[in-house]
């Protein structure tokens, strides 16, 4: 019996190589398999340029906020304030544009600066007051919800939103590509270059990989962590702005649900290419899986309950393939 057990453990090199590919590209293969499946199920509606553009457009906001969150988790912290922050930013930008009649570019800059400040506050509480990041950012998020209420009395700001503001998100200023997609590509591309290709990015990765080692090696760990929060905060602000523009209104708690989506994308992504590490490219893949999953199930017209079941299954299977491949290959 034990002999069988042992022989079953021996995988041929070619099997191992195949499993290794799964380990690296499991989530990407999952994404492609899902796209193929939906294309077969709904050949007319799913695999069209229009629909893919539509999915990317929809997913752009979640991708931007998830890209920011990636920076926070890369430095080893969680940022639970992003959804609440984005909601506040959405109200604020609408208020600044509608009530205070600020020029849109100025309003955008103010709100993104506020996002940076919120990140700074998060980072300060985590690194200097040494509060666990879950509590710190949940606390800050709760405070931001209160501020959003205070600013708007809970009532959405709707009337008088100028068309130019709506065009931020609805417009297609370049080659007919929706603005959201362009902004997303610029932001995620920028983050990727920052993390993967600059000296600062090396410090960011080091802090996340092993904060103690980074500190011993002379990296200013606190500064890097604060930076992670600031970037996360700025991306949340950008998402809030684009969401307000897309919705045409500033509504308290409109963006709260991005929190869970962003987390799902980031953690899904961590199973891509590199085992268990967070990185920008992975987050992009994770967000795509979620977006195409939602869209494909919608278009196929699965009943509501099975949409949930399938969405959940997609998450687990996408990561499970990669993880199983890895652990079998390493036996």
């Amino acid at each position: 019996m034990s002999d069988i057990a042992i022989s079953a453990r021996r995988l041929s090199p070619s099997t191992k190589a195949a499993l290794g590919i799964f380990a690296r590209y499991g989530t990407i293969i999952g994404l492609l398999a899902m796209i193929v499946t939906f294309s077969i199920l709904s050949p007319g509606a799913f695999p069209t340029v229009g629909n893919f553009t539509n999915v990317l457009n929809q997913a752009s906001l979640a991708m931007i906020i998830a890209g920011g969150l990636t920076l926070a988790v890369v430095v080893g912290e969680l940022d639970l304030s992003i959804g609440f922050a984005a909601s506040l930013h959405g109200i604020l930008i609408t208020g600044l544009v509608v009530h205070d009649k600020l020029p849109i570019p100025l309003a955008v800059i103010i709100v993104i600066a506020l996002g940076a400040v919120i990140g700074l506050v998060n980072g300060f509480i985590v690194t200097k007051v040494k509060v666990n990041s879950v509590i710190a950012t949940l606390g800050v998020g709760t405070i931001l919800t209160g501020l959003a209420f205070a600013y708007s009395a809970g009532v959405p700001i709707v009337a008088g939103v100028p068309e130019a503001f709506l065009q931020l998100s609805l417009g297609r200023w370049l080659f007919g590509i929706p603005n959201n997609i362009i902004v997303m590509i610029v932001v995620l591309g920028g983050l990727w270059v920052l993390v993967e290709r600059t000296p600062l990015g090396q410090e960011i990765q080091a802090v996340g990989g092993n904060a103690v080692a980074a500190r011993l090696a002379g990296v200013n760990v606190d500064r890097i962590k604060i930076l992670g929060f600031v970037i996360s905060g700025m991306c949340a602000a950008l998402t809030g702005i684009l969401l307000a523009s897309r919705l045409g209104s500033g509504t308290a708690s409109a963006a709260d649900s991005y929190l869970l989506t962003a987390f799902a994308a980031v953690f899904l992504g961590s199973a891509t290419l590199r085992d268990g590490e967070f990185h920008v490219l992975g987050t992009l893949v994770g967000a795509l899986i979620i977006a195409f999953g939602f869209n494909g199930l919608n278009i196929f017209g699965a009943p509501t309950f099975s949409q949930y079941v399938l969405q959940g299954a997609i998450l687990i299977i996408a990561v499970g393939m990669a993880s199983l491949g890895r652990s079998l290959a390493e036996r």
């Binding site: 034990s2 057990a5 042992i6 453990r9 021996r10 270059v193 290709r197 600059t198 000296p199 990015g201 090396q202 410090e203 990765q205 080091a206 990989g209 092993n210 103690v212 080692a213 980074a214 500190r215 011993l216 090696a217 002379g218 990296v219 200013n220 590199r274 590490e277 036996r331």
Partner: protein
């Protein structure tokens, strides 16, 4: 004498109720190789951490180039021209060799992007000189502890510091790697760089250092140089009295029956067809170079990894542990090589760490699965006494112990269990000479009471001192068996370098 680069005066530091440093002083001149020795917990690492800006002194003064300095942060320490190789290894598992070498070091850029090519060009010669054999773009995940040490050393060199502090750099290095390091240290010294060198290996200290400071219980108790710098004086200063140097005491004793046997155990590429027999009441050593596959072999015996082929027996019965839990159940114990990562629960108390392998002994009753905390505390107290673990009480978190005392906790866990087979991977790494003798005595004592002990050590002197029989491994194979009078440092080192293929044929012939 030239003006000192570094002067530290009356440095004191307390952690909670522990007074780690009670006032130590030390100075180092440019180009000097300054030794720092002391028993486990004497405060050496704490002093280093203060120099590195990781801890802040409660009292005292630090001068660099004659200017009083507040170090404050690790970044400041670097700016001031100091570079550190700490006792705890600093590396990031997800990064490659080059990235790890450049951790925290300013990097060349092109258009704002890291210019890895240029960096690699600069680093490659230094890496070669240190003896890093892995390609610079290889991941560090599969590397041995020794290679990671070399990376840390390389980092210190790349920084071009004026003072390099090394906290037990050779603890994980094999003889050849250590020799290379000594050459580098001498080079550095010749080029005017000061080196502060901490070690428990007095031979190294004596051959390298021109001046040696001795810490005892948080105080500087002696500074030896020139004629006074002799082994007996050093030992006396460290322990505050004379100590009988551990010697080979193993008498030729009749050994018991075979407790454990492995036949053609293979897990490619590290372990290739290893067969061995382990007898009751013997201490079997496994020698060889770092990377020979000894740790992997231990992991196979202990069920931490599974063999691709081969068989094992334990007291005559087939033995194929599916997990370490099964191995422990079957009567094995393992003290792993990397104590902080693989053996200890740093945030938990000493009692917790000792109790975790002895849960059946600290339960109130068979049918009342509640812990008997009194029993646990007294058990912990007993082990702490017998290993002289230096700590305030059994409830002290293990993470706050000095390195050597942590190692004792990792060993102590198994002593109460009296397993049939105890495997110790580098048991005295980082342990002071006094404690080392104690650990050796304990290992012998356990063997005499019938336990089969397997000891892996890279320290060439340790196995002859301790073992009845030694197997030498090279490149995954056992290349020689030495026993009785044949066990010697020279024989082990020789066998380590033997071509394994040639030897295999020898064996068959």
């Amino acid at each position: 004498m030239t003006t000192p680069f570094l002067v530290a005066r009356d440095i004191a530091k307390a952690f909670g109720g522990t007074q780690a440093l009670k006032g130590v002083s030390l100075d180092i001149a440019p180009g000097e190789i300054h030794g720092l020795v002391g028993a486990n917990g004497a405060g050496k690492s704490t002093f280093i951490r203060i120099l590195a800006g990781l801890n802040h002194p409660d009292a005292g003064r630090i001068e660099l180039d004659g200017h009083s300095q507040e170090i404050g942060t690790p970044q400041r320490a670097t700016e001031l021209g100091m570079s550190f190789i700490h006792q705890e290894l600093a590396f990031v598992p997800g990064m490659n060799v080059l990235q790890n070498i450049m951790l925290g070091v300013p990097k060349k850029t092109r258009f704002g992007l890291t210019d890895w090519r240029a960096i690699a060009r600069d680093v490659a010669p230094i890496a070669r000189r240190v003896g890093i054999s892995a390609p610079l773009n290889a991941g560090v995940k599969g590397l041995s502890t020794a290679e990671i040490w070399l990376i840390n050393i390389c980092r210190a060199l790349v920084r071009k510091a004026r003072l390099i502090v090394m906290d037990e750099p050779t603890a994980s290095l094999a003889a050849s790697e250590a020799e290379r390091l000594f050459a580098i240290v001498r080079d550095l010294s010749a080029s005017g760089v000061a080196v502060l060198y901490i070690s428990h290996r007095l031979d190294e200290i004596l051959s390298l250092c021109t001046r040696v400071s001795v810490f005892r219980d948080g105080r500087s108790v002696a500074e030896l140089a020139g004629d006074t710098l002799r082994r007996p004086a050093l030992v006396e200063a460290i322990v505050g009295g004379a100590i009988r140097d551990a010697q080979r005491t193993a008498p030729e004793r009749p050994r018991g029956g075979v407790v454990m046997e492995a036949k053609k155990l293979t897990r490619a590429p590290k372990v290739l067809g290893v067969s061995l027999q382990l007898h009751a009441g013997e201490v079997l050593g496994i020698g060889g170079l770092v990377g020979a596959g000894r740790t992997e072999l231990a992991r196979l015996l202990f069920g931490a990894d599974r063999p691709h082929s081969g068989e094992m027996t334990l007291v005559g019965r087939p033995y194929a542990p599916a997990s370490p839990a099964a191995a422990v159940q079957a009567g094995l114990g393992l003290v792993p090589e990397e104590r902080r990562a693989e053996a200890l629960f740093l945030s938990k108390s000493i009692a917790f760490n000792l109790g975790i392998a002895n849960l059946d002994k600290v339960v109130i009753g068979r049918y009342l699965p509640l812990m008997n905390r009194g029993a646990r505390t007294s058990m912990a107290g007993e082990i702490m006494r017998s290993l002289s673990i230096k700590a305030r009480s059994a409830s002290t978190p293990v993470g706050s112990l000095s390195g050597g005392n942590q190692q004792k906790v990792a060993i102590g866990r198994w002593l109460q269990r009296t397993p049939k087979v105890l495997i110790l991977d580098e048991p005295t790494r980082g342990v002071d000479i006094g404690a080392r003798a104690e650990i050796h005595r304990l290992i012998r004592q356990q063997a005499e009471s019938g336990m089969a002990v397997l000891v892996i050590s890279s320290e060439p002197d340790e196995l002859p001192e301790l073992c009845d029989r030694v197997l030498v491994m090279a490149e995954g194979r056992i290349v020689r068996e030495l026993s009785g009078a044949g066990v010697s440092r020279k024989a082990i080192v020789e066998a380590s370098y033997v071509e394994p293929e040639a030897l295999m044929e020898d064996h068959l012939a």
